[in-house]
Symmetry: C2
Subunit: 209 residues, 2 copies
DNA sequence: TCCCCTCCTGTACCGGCGGTACAGTTTTCA
DNA sequence: TGAAAACTGTACCGCCGGTACAGGAGGGGA
């Protein structure tokens, strides 16, 4: 049981890196087995077909993603009491984490799946959809706490604002990868932070001169 | 010359729709020739290989994209003198255009290429990079005009703010497609508009009661 | 009218890949 | 030590990207 899990994980590791660079259609099973040093039969022992691999890959990615957000915003919550300051700190920590990635963000599997949708079954599409909805709920929850204390300077829909976090992350990844500027993603998160700050923080000071 | 261009365009039309739904790796040449009613030899008469098709596809997409932005923000410029109000109107018009798309936004080729990078040659990657840089310059130009009149409420880097427009668009497309909620993209653009408004517009009124 | 160029069609072929089938072997752990 | 788990090896299928090349329809200019 133990050994099997290890091999499975190794396949998933190799597959994830490949898929994020070349998409699902561009990643061949043959190259995966070559890199993991397993045989074709061995691969199909673990995954019935490519769709099954995609399913496992996506689920693992989403779980890991959730864990990272839990940790970052959980830490921010522990350090600061105020919901707004805590959220702003969370975005700061997230931005730091992203700018510490040595080769930039490798890409988001949710986006990859989104741009390959037609070749996946309904289950994967639903999983992907639910992942995005989970982001909406997560950030929405925090934003609602903020709104209970700070009235927004402009009228905004909470869900749409929560989606903005996801948008900037997904879009920032695309920009960062395309430009080959690893730091762009981190900067975009800080830009979003500025937006949130401005939206909720009471006018602090008068413009000088 | 006329007939050839027409066939070429038909291939590109079919290919674009397919690629946006299934990615490059997931789109087979055989299905393209089946749908356009051309033979395999006919296809390879127009495009040397898949890479050549991708190149043509991407260039056409980028040109069309630029034309749309030229038109929208050009119209906004004609209607309103003030650079800030003009930009805000442009975002409004863009949001309306996006929410009028019957089946939602079909997807962005730049993002598709970004998530398939490793299987393309340097030329395509450079083209893609330049497209994103062109967005940065485009929105940067408008934002600089705004900043010459309106001091931003918070210190922001112009290029990063310009990138925010691209981020929200790219991210909004991913969200919209994944959620199968066509309107999410338009809402995200309006959210961005709120941000820009808040950043540059002087405090308009006191919060009531 | 003839010829040439553009724009294709038809046919045959290659190797890689996803996937299947299944028999046999090694490794692990209770 | 024995059964289950975790593989290997081999053979095969059909689709796909790509190559090669011969030939043909149709229009436009000399």
């Amino acid at each position: 049981m133990r050994k099997g899990e290890e091999t499975r994980t190794r396949i998933l590791d190799v597959a994830e890196a490949a898929v994020l660079q070349k998409g699902f259609g561009g990643t061949s099973i043959e190259e995966l087995i070559a890199e993991t040093g397993i045989t074709k039969s061995g691969f199909f022992y673990h995954f019935r077909d490519k769709n099954e691999l995609a399913k496992a890959l996506l689920n693992r990615y989403i779980e890991n993603d959730e864990r990272i957000y839990d940790e970052i915003f959980g830490r921010a919550r522990d350090l600061v009491d105020d919901p707004l300051q805590s959220f702003l700190l969370g975005l700061k920590l997230l931005s730091e984490l992203l700018s510490d990635l040595p080769n930039g963000h490798p890409g988001c599997l949710v986006a990859t799946v989104c741009y390959y949708e037609r070749l996946f079954d309904r289950e994967i599409q639903e999983t992907n959809r639910n992942a995005v909805l989970a982001w909406r709920r997560r950030f929405g929850r925090m934003l609602r706490e903020i709104m209970a204390v700070y009235p927004p300077r402009e009228p905004v829909d909470v869900d749409q604002l929560a989606d903005m976090v996801s948008s900037v992350l997904e879009g920032g990844i695309v920009l960062s990868k395309t430009l080959k500027e690893p730091n762009t993603l981190a900067e975009q998160v800080l830009m979003l932070r500025t937006f949130v700050k401005m939206l909720f923080l009471p006018v602090a000071e008068m413009p000088r001169a």
